[in-house]
């Protein structure tokens, strides 16, 4: 009975339809109605995510819960969905974050609220589509369509420099992905099918692989983002409204990592093997150099944005270090580390952006210099933020530790120098996170405004505490997540490995 439910389609279309309903409904004139609809749909989506976890067995490492319908027969493009252990955690994360964003928006967005809810719902549906699509063109459609609501979200509800930031965000992402589209069409025309599994099986010459790999890197490195194409992220984060920043950091960045795993590794393994060192080098630059940049920031959101880039450096490092490793266990651990890092960073950066949003709603400033001694007036908030900051620094017991630890451990087996540089994050991350915390939270209240701040209300408590619980749960007991992912990751690595050996 339960297996009959087209759960992936529901996860995509329910938020999409809900989003359009809210958009075309009475809007702000009947705000309560719009709010209720958005909230109900978000809660249902979270339940569906739970159901997805229940229905997904994950033991085989294969695509499960597949759905298939013809879409454009003349081009052999199909509506083909399916999930494996890599996609499921990301979909669950999306549903969870969406609920928090909707709840968070209820107090902090002041105008065109219904449209804001609608944008968040549309984004959720489209992002679920990206993770569930098993047809390359379907994937691309979701991937690009997602930019439109995000573009509007930053542009309408963003800060003073929002137009520059949102157009930059759109152009950077589009720049990368259009070349990926050319690559996908090329392969699709050659293979006669756009099914990702068929593309993964397709043999390609080294020359083709190199160019297609470059196209993939252009698309995914911008999204994740890697140095040197990361510059859109600080701008977009700073200008985006709280919810926008959260979605951007928690989920959109993960699509880059997901894309590397789903496309770049299995489709172009030889080229990836050949050029892995470049990507590893850039990952290390992100981890070390961007860490220093984060130290120098005056703006809280910018600081978290740079810290995101540094953390995503671990994801790319974990993914590409596998080409420097000889045994499957180590590389499986590296990719697992990358995946855990993605999920954990989604939670931690989301929590940090929510925390900054809490402060911004009260003081209307993002400058660190405008704060100080917040803990005196907001003790509960101070305590929660402590946890997030420590998680961001990679404290054992929080989810932030596990991903970084796995990646460092496996990169040690490849080359101790790589591990050395990567481990610098333990110092740098702690430095910029704790220093931020010290300047904002500790000390004497800076002025009257700070002294009279109200502590977080129930709505904010719900958001921050649920994130805190997730971060701790994942940090103390990551085993369930690893069990979901492991068979799929090993399957992926075997596929990549066999293609590599076949070519050699």
């Amino acid at each position: 009975m339960l297996t009959q439910i087209p759960i992936l389609s529901l996860l995509i279309w329910l938020p999409l339809i809900g989003g359009f309903l809210v958009l075309f409904g009475p809007g702000d004139k009947m705000l309560v109605w719009s709010q209720r609809i958005s909230l109900v749909i978000s809660i249902i989506v979270v339940f569906l995510c739970g159901l997805l976890l229940y229905m997904f067995s994950g033991a085989s490492g294969q695509m499960e819960l597949a759905e298939y319908a013809q879409w454009i027969p003349s081009l052999n493009i199909n509506y083909s969905l399916g999930v494996d252990g890599i996609a499921v955690p990301l979909i669950v994360l999306t549903g969870f974050i969406n609920l928090l964003v909707i709840i968070g928006a209820m107090g902090s967005i002041k105008f065109r609220r219904a449209q804001y809810y609608s944008a968040a719902l549309l984004l959720t549906g489209l992002m679920n589509g990206v993770f569930a699509a098993q047809d390359a063109i379907l994937f691309y459609v979701f991937w690009e369509a997602m930019l439109i609501p995000m573009f509007l979200m930053i542009g309408v509800w963003g800060g003073p420099n929002r137009i520059y930031a949102t157009i930059k965000f759109f152009l950077f992402t589009f720049f990368g992905s259009i070349f990926m589209l050319v690559g996908l069409i090329y392969m699709g025309a050659k293979a006669g099918s756009f099914n990702i599994a068929d593309l993964q099986k397709m043999p390609l010459t080294m020359f083709e692989q190199t160019w297609i790999f470059i196209a993939f890197v252009a698309a995914f490195a911008v999204k994740i983002p890697m140095v040197p194409v990361h510059t859109w992220l600080p701008d977009a984060h700073v200008e985006a409204p709280t919810g926008g920043s959260v979605i951007l950091a928690a989920i959109m960045l993960k699509m880059g990592g997901y894309g590397f795993l789903r496309f770049a590794l299995p489709i172009t393994p030889d080229a990836a093997n050949e050029y892995a060192w470049i990507l590893i080098a850039f990952s290390l630059v992100a981890i070390a150099y961007i860490g220093f940049i984060a130290l120098a920031q005056q703006d809280m959101k910018k600081l978290v944005a740079y810290s995101s880039i540094a953390h995503m450096g671990f994801v790319t490092l974990g993914i590409f270090i596998i080409f420097k490793l000889s045994n499957l266990d180590a590389s499986s651990m590296a990719v697992q580390g990358a995946m855990i890092q993605m999920i954990s960073h989604g939670l931690i950066s989301g929590a940090l952006f929510f925390s900054i949003g809490v402060l911004y709603d009260r003081v209307h400033s993002r400058d660190i210099a405008d704060y100080g001694g917040v803990v005196n007036s907001m003790p509960i908030f101070g305590a929660l933020m402590m946890l997030f900051v420590l998680a961001n620094a990679g404290l054992p017991g929080t989810s932030g530790f596990i991903g970084e630890f796995f990646v460092i451990l496996s990169s040690f087996q490849a080359d101790w120098r790589i591990a050395m540089v990567a481990a610098s994050t333990l110092i740098l991350g702690a430095a910029y996170s704790l220093w931020l915390y010290k300047r904002v939270i500790f000390g004497k209240p800076l002025n009257d405004t700070i002294e009279r701040l109200e502590d977080i209300n129930t709505r904010e408590k719900f958001i921050l505490i649920s994130l805190a619980l997730m971060i701790l749960a994942l940090g103390i007991f990551p085993q369930p997540l690893i069990e979901i992912m492991q068979p799929s990751i090993e399957g992926l690595l075997n596929l990549t490995q066999s293609k590599l050996e076949g070519a050699a």
């Binding site: 081009l75 509007l152 050319v182």
Partner: protein, 490 residues
């Protein structure tokens, strides 16, 4: 022996079946009757003429659908071709003309432009286009082309009191005449070399003989003329001025149906007649396509006038559209057809929204005039941004599939991958100025906050085009197959 034929003999000598020509015949006679009705009409608003014009279009469309051919027939001494391609193009042009009239109606009403003739000129121009896409000899093609163009010149000049409009009309006429001259000159060479006027005979000639230098010379002239009509770089100079100067309602029409007709002309001449020298015209088109994409997109970046921006974007789109023709196979032609059809729909809406925004007799000229459309009328803002995002080639709008199709067409041809990369790169630049328009619509504060209320026919036109853009974007299959079927006999 006999010197004169009696009328009865003439009639019995006509053993043609006129059924295939029926849409054109109906359109001609109905338009002529409408002309008479219009002369004696006392209604200053010409409501009747408008309604009748739409009715004529509807009936013409129905006739074409009803007699949709399942084979390829050469009729009337092989001057007329009746095949799925011609019927496909005719249906599309009828639909486009009908939507263009919806946009035109309130515009010319507000500006008191001569009204009855306005609709008639559309109909006669459509007649020219229909003959054009059915032409199977250089003669009938040329006749159709001229009938279409003459009506268009008059339409551009319709706003007599406006200097810009008059200037645009003169420019358009001079440039159009030169282009026709080029084509005619090329045709005369072709006839001189081959001694043939029918496309099929020319193709046969090319099959049997090596193409001489003179024939290639003629081909250059014909392609030049075609490029003029398309507005491809380096023959694009007239496009921005004419699009800008012409009454917006004429620009709406100009940017849509005639482009589809020009596509028909290109296919008839290049594919039906000159398939034997494919490589020659392929190389010419590559130059046109690349320079159109480059110039169109780059110059559009600098525009502050929305009509000129759309004009340059039209030039860029012609560049993408040519990619399908360049591929030189039926898939490529189908991709081009899909591209030009979807672009025509989008362009209709894109220019139509300028009429929508126009207040009274004031023209919408600057991009900034669109400021706050999303605030003043959220629905219209959303629909208009659909159109612009579709032009940018973003999914889930139809422009994405059009771009995907043409890129796929060139990727299938060895050695043309670089063209696909150029197209991809230029579409990033294109995205920037389309986003600029969306930004103005949604992010900028309106100068006047009054809510926009538009006439029903405008709302209908905008609704049809933008909903088509999203619906075809989600379900492109039918239109894709429709386009592919058009080329089944080639």
């Amino acid at each position: 022996m006999e010197t004169t034929l009696s009328l009865a003999q003439v009639i019995t000598n006509i053993n043609h079946d006129f059924w295939p020509l029926f849409p054109e015949l109906f359109l001609l006679s109905a338009a002529s009757i409408l002309l008479m009705i219009d002369v004696f009409s006392v209604d200053m608003d010409r409501k009747l003429s408008y309604n009748l014009a739409q009715f004529i279009l509807l009936v013409t469309g129905i006739i074409i659908v009803f007699q949709f051919p399942t084979s390829q027939d050469f009729l009337y001494h092989r001057h007329f071709i009746h095949d799925p391609l011609s019927a496909t193009l005719k249906i599309s042009m009828v639909v486009l003309t009908s939507i263009a009239l919806m946009f035109a109606r309130p515009y010319i009403l507000q500006r008191r432009i001569l009204r009855g003739e306005y609709y008639l000129l559309h109909l006669f121009s459509l007649l020219g286009m229909m003959l054009l896409v059915s032409g199977s000899s250089l003669l009938s093609l040329y006749l159709g082309l001229e009938l279409m163009s003459l009506c268009l010149y008059a339409l551009v000049a319709m706003n007599r009191r406006d200097k810009l409009s008059a200037e645009a009309a003169v420019k358009y006429f001079v440039m159009g005449a030169i282009a026709s001259g080029f084509i005619l000159y090329g045709i005369s060479f072709v006839y001189g070399v081959t001694g043939q006027i029918h496309l099929a005979d020319i193709a046969a000639f090319l099959n049997d003989n090596e193409a001489s230098l003179t024939l290639r010379f003629a081909l250059v002239f014909i392609v030049t003329g075609l490029a003029f009509k398309f507005g491809a770089v380096p023959f694009q100079m007239w496009v921005p001025d004419v699009y800008h100067g012409a009454p917006t309602s004429t620009t709406v029409f100009l940017a849509s149906a005639p482009k589809v007709a020009a596509f028909g002309l290109a296919i008839r001449i290049l594919v039906f007649g000159f398939a034997g020298v494919l490589v020659d015209w392929q190389n010419l088109l590559i130059i046109l396509a690349v320079s159109s994409m480059l110039v169109g997109n780059l110059v559009a970046l600098a525009q502050t006038n929305i009509k000129r921006l759309l004009a340059y974007s039209a030039i860029a789109h012609i560049g993408y559209f040519l990619l399908g023709l360049i591929a030189g196979n039926t898939q490529g032609y189908a991709a081009s057809l899909f591209y030009i059809l979807t672009y025509a729909i989008t362009a209709l809406g894109g220019f139509g929204c300028l009429i929508y925004m126009a207040k009274g007799r004031q023209e919408v000229d600057r991009i900034d005039d669109l400021k706050g459309l999303g605030q003043r009328n959220p629905w219209a803002g959303l629909l208009v941004s659909f159109l612009f995002l579709s032009m940018a080639g973003l999914p889930p709008f139809v422009g994405f599939w059009a771009k995907l199709e043409v890129i796929k067409a060139v990727l299938n041809v060895d050695g043309l991958i670089w063209l696909a990369l150029v197209a991809a790169f230029m579409s990033i630049i294109g995205l920037f100025y389309y986003l600029k328009v969306v930004k103005v619509i949604f992010f900028d504060k309106a100068e006047v906050e009054t809510r926009i209320r538009a006439e029903r026919s405008l709302r209908l036109g905008l609704g049809i085009t933008s909903i088509a853009v999203i619906a075809l974007g989600l379900f492109p299959t039918q239109l894709l197959e429709f386009c592919q079927k058009a080329f089944q006999y080639i």
